[in-house]
Amino acid sequence: MKKLAILLFVVLMATSAYADQALVEKAKGEGKAAFYANITAIEPIMEAFTNEYGVKGEYTRISTSKFLATVLTEFQAGKLLADVLQSPLPIMELLKEKGVLASYRSPAAASYPAWTRKDDKIQIFGIEYVALIYNKELVKAKDAPKRYEDLTNPKWKGKIVMANPSAHATTISWLIGLKENVFPSEKAWMDFVKGLAANKPMFVRSFGPTPAPVESGEKLIAISMPKYIITKAPAPLDWARVEQPLLGTPRGIAITASASHPNAAKLFVDYWLSKDAMQMLADKVGEYVLHPGVYPPIDGIDKAKVLPIRELSDDEIRYWGSEFKKIFDAP
């Protein structure tokens, strides 16, 4: 069985490599692929792409809160400079609705789980996973939370840092994800949220500023992302191995309908989804990717169950944002 799988894989690779050649030639003629995304330190991947195919990979980083506004503004003015877009799935869906995305099914995604391509426009390739990140010098592994509910233990009072749950969309989605995927009942979940609020976590703007207070010991534990264990090494960070699954917002990639370098765009998406590129993303940036068998080099992550959070509408996020504001601001 295993041999058959390998054979199949080789055949698949060979055909896709053959198909590639024509695409590569056309892409070379176009010269470059412009890529809009908000993802840390992917310059090595852009460089490897440029070296591999002689087509320049050009990366423009646009922060998540400005992503939709920027892409739509350019698109509506007929000046979208991007050939390929990458962002959290809810934004990709909105872009699809507005007609910004083109159809493309990359052969490189053949090995990805079926749920990663619900339609022929967006390919999901990773999950922005969230976990409890603690200072391993100040907290012993055995004292770290074993379940999410442990965060409500009064021993964590004044020791938690998290992104503002009344405003930060990803954190709001994460809390809703817990309700729908982890907690047995709405009441158990609400008890958790209220218990967390009672421990008076310190709020910061987004995930970016969450690890620093934990590294320095200002706080002990953060609702944050395990990727910081890689990007902030040698900081004394570790993730709490909770029994329950980890959750995160899926990340999607697609090519644009107005791409001025359509073949280079396809070539870039193929390369992005390849094992090589995904391995780089996992190794260098600590991202959780969906290419089978590729994991970030974080101890124990390969055994963790990581689930995608359902897409929430903005109305839902705003509603829960104001609910969380009431709960967390309560004296």
Binding site: T70, I91, S216
Partner: protein, 561 residues
Amino acid sequence: MFSTRTALTPSLIVIVGFLTVCPVVMLVLGSFSEGIGAFGKFTLEKYIQSYTDPAFAGIIVNTVIFTIGSGFVATLLALFLAYLNTRTNIPFKFLFRIISIIPMMIPHILFSVSWVLLLNPSNGMINLLLKQIFNLENSPFNIYTLGGMILVEGLLDLPIAYLILAPAMAAFDVSLEESSKVSGASNLRTLTRVTLPVLRPAILASFILVIVRSLASFAVPSIIGMPGRIYVLATHIYRIIATGFAADYGMAAAVGMSALAASIALIYLYRYLTSESEKYVTISSRGYRPSLIELKKAKYPLFAIVGLLSFVLIVLPVLVLFYTSLVPYSMVPDARAFSMMNWKHWLDVLKDPISLLSLKNSVFLGIVGATLGVILSIFVSYVIVKVRTRAAGLLESISFLSFSFPGIVIGVGFMWFFVRTPLYATIWSLLIGYIATYLPYGIRPLTSAFIQIHSHLEESSRVCGGGTLYTLRRIVIPLLIPGVVSGWILMATMFVRELTLSVVLSRPGTEVLAVQILRFAEDGLWGKLSALGIMMICISTIIVVIASLIGMKMTRVQETD
């Protein structure tokens, strides 16, 4: 000659209007449109929704306290420093000037973060130290309060206040103070009864500019206010943008309109309060040379106070930055932290081609942008102060338009505008955006300098046959040099560290320093952030030193003429 003068006002209104009105118009359109773009079906929904929010009243109260408090801190400190520096014989003056300008060069995120490292209630360094010395149970200071926000914002805006007040103090007619002393008043009484009242336009200008600036500021409210759960207008707007993936900048603009209205009201108030500008004229014709007050015995104690102040307020945070750039991650300083120090973050930044490109772009924008900006400011200030028609009032208000909009919103306004021009995604869009937004940094120091030049001087020139441009070049500009230098420094240092517009307008090839710094911040890489930040401070310092030296040289040449 007269025709040049009348043509000046309308043409300036056209130029400045083009620069500042276009993005604001786009934002006004966006705030009345359905959906999330600049154009859509007309709706009032965004205004109704944002202004009926029950939390809004509390946010306004916080915002008023925060901005007025910052205005007081910055202006009082600047008055103290500028007076000692320009009017007394306190030692090491050159050092003072640099120290009071340094906060202008530090990215605001970095400055706020270093204060958090110093004063957070859990393990802030100053708190830990005081707890140890006095054997305290609890931390004596908590930065995450309105007081903490006012302190840090006040310090960040100190250079604005200083660079407006210092030139006005330098251009002071000695005869006024001499008359006061001849009539038997003490130094202190002269200061409070003569010097300060005469400086009223400059003091008000500084106070108002700091209020407007802190209204638009985002770094301090987000880094210090949010952990303390204190919301002001800027963080409220951020909440509107960040909650949900389809960020609604139209609604953010609707909230921003109240900041705009407040700023315009302040500018008219300022014009009203300084309307009898003749009262404040101090350089009339002869005897213009500010005298120095002999501090005698107070000299060294005063210097010690200022030195200590500068150390705690400015040197310490910069040291914290330097320390952060050397340790591998955020650590409380102890023996282990010092043993782990290395230059890794510095080498990483220096090897990064984008960081180097952004360094080049920012220096270009700083020098070229400030030069063009100051030239425009000279003409605008001249009209504002010397023409004083209704049109001049209009010019003054529109020069503040983009400046008084909260930063996170105005960038999007510029994007909505530039995408309809061929300038989009070029470095020129950054240059134009910078000048348009920060025009008041050039105009304010120059107007407070213009106010003090008596029209007799210009009239004499005209009587002798000098035209408007000739009068400007030979009479007015030489007397304006301190104001020009201040304006240029404010603009250049601002442009080198500009973030809010750049983050929206910069594209591959037009990366600038602050955007690179923001990327490090978003990834939580404080070490690299600090290393690049210090490089930025060094570049700005070099620019400031060169500008000051050129300014000093020019003033000297004029004197020997």
